[in-house]
């Protein structure tokens, strides 16, 4: 898609993948951080990771398996809390532990079988060996994530503001909330191969955390977060490929550095300090 700007095919594919994945994750990061469901995002990322590992081991499509695992976890949290009389936080902790255990078990086992190389890609991401179809799929999920927010903007913003107030003004909170989880699960599963299960969380939280340092309005956050994420991710891909550094971990470090700088420079925090 971007071959007319970047002639080198490998670099072009890496940039495209990082661009679509970062924009999709960043728009959803605004929802994840503002609805305060980052633990759900975290657990879903690891569930997708476990699903992909199991899929690889069983020679099934890892992407489909990770989508199924991510969605299953999102829909299991409520019933598990009710049946086992656990707080949602404890349920998430349990599911996270189970997902990690399953993922690590299968990755370790595959290593003993000599299939470790492909499995390691699930941990830290692999931006180079993507098929064209996978990049198209990322472009589609990027459009789906943006369309989801545009179409349900009123409902999403009200839920972000306060779920109970959203319900009291006549919004059908549950279907919108579950649709949110479904889109997050889908995005997580499709971004997993390039970013990796261990680092995906950075993409799902940091862009919104950076945007929040500068934005007073949610609508602005939905523009600033993906813009910042796209710039950082493309820079990470270009620098990583130029100097033969691991792209996803390098980009994650860049995200963290930009977040620290944003906190230090944040005009919103300066106002707060002055007021106190």
């Amino acid at each position: 898609m971007l071959e007319f700007i970047i002639p080198n095919n490998i670099v072009c594919h890496a940039v495209e993948a990082m661009l679509f994945a970062s924009v999709a994750c960043a728009v959803l990061s605004v929802i994840i951080t503002q609805v305060q469901i980052s633990s759900i995002g975290f657990t879903m990322a690891h569930a997708a990771f476990a699903g992909a590992a199991v899929g690889m081991f069983l020679s099934l499509n890892p992407t489909v398996c990770s989508i199924v695992a991510g969605v299953a976890v999102a829909f299991l949290i409520g019933p598990l809390s009710d049946r086992a009389r656990l707080s949602p936080d404890t349920s998430l902790g349990l599911l996270f532990g189970i997902c990690m255990a399953v993922a690590i078990f299968f990755i370790a086992y595959m290593q003993t079988l000599g299939q470790g190389f492909s499995a390691m890609g699930l941990l830290f991401g692999d931006v180079i060996s993507l098929y064209r179809e996978e990049i198209y799929l990322l472009a589609v999920i990027c459009i789906v994530a943006i369309a989801f927010i545009v179409v349900l903007y009123k409902e999403i913003t009200a839920i972000i503001f306060d779920k109970r107030i959203a319900e009291s003004v006549g919004i059908r909170v549950k279907p919108v909330y579950y649709a949110m989880l479904f889109v997050i699960a889908l995005t997580v599963a499709l971004c997993l191969p390039i970013i990796g299960g261990l680092l995906l969380y950075v993409w799902l939280v940091t862009p919104a955390a950076i945007a929040l340092q500068f934005c007073n309005r949610l609508s602005t956050m939905f523009v600033v977060a993906p813009t910042v994420a796209a710039v950082i991710s493309i820079s990470g891909a270009l620098v990583g490929l130029e100097y033969s550094l691991p792209v996803a971990p390098l980009t994650a470090v860049l995200f963290s550095a930009v977040f620290i700088a944003a906190v230090l420079l944040s005009p919103r925090r300066r106002v707060t300090f002055r007021k106190i």
Binding site: L152, R164, S168
Partner: protein
Amino acid sequence: MTASDPVIRLENVYTAYEGADRPTLTDISLSIGRGEFVVIGGPNGAGKTTLLETINGMLHITHGKAVVCGQDVRGDGVQVRCRVGYLLQNFAFDPLTPFTVEEVVLMGRYGTIGLFRKPRTEDYEAVKKSLHLLGIEDLAARPIGQLSGGQQQKVLMAQNLARNPEVLLLDEPFSNLDMFAREEINRLLARLVGSGITVLIVSHAFDDLPDRPVRVVVMQEGKIVVSRECPPKEVEQIVRNAGKGPSHA
């Protein structure tokens, strides 16, 4: 529904919270007419907030019949909530909450606007009108998290008024307000009741009631133990006499 029909009619209603093994409200029967001012009192845990959330369909009715604004609450609570304002108790917004006052008030109309539709000019007009009613037009562009508790309370009140409710449910509406703001809200409530809006208010501050006959409903252990009309000055005494009434704030 005719003008003489009750705007709220509960018949032998039982309500339970999700996952609870027994109902929180038991055998509630209540009939409230258009333009009535109802004060709900009773000790903590008596079921006052539960009663409000039963009326607007936010809680599951396990048994009985509930009709609000001519709509069956058990059928579609969402339709009821589009016509009923509900000011929730106890809230605090983070200073970094990325919403302006105008955006928060506009949310009050989201249910009536409907899914996949954008706010129209009339929605923005309703927001302006309700900001004006509460005297907070000058706060419209301010982030809600940077306002005082009393100002935030007024914003949420404006949010409820923005959808032109037929019934207004207020849970401790005076809790964050100073005496001037209380008087202001009281005058507004009296005007709303005068214009035919039914107001149900859960409060422990009985000296702040509008100067007009009110209906007092006293609850204990999930049941209504008193429901009668009286002058506002007698409300506190009735609540006290009905049992372990709250201490005067």
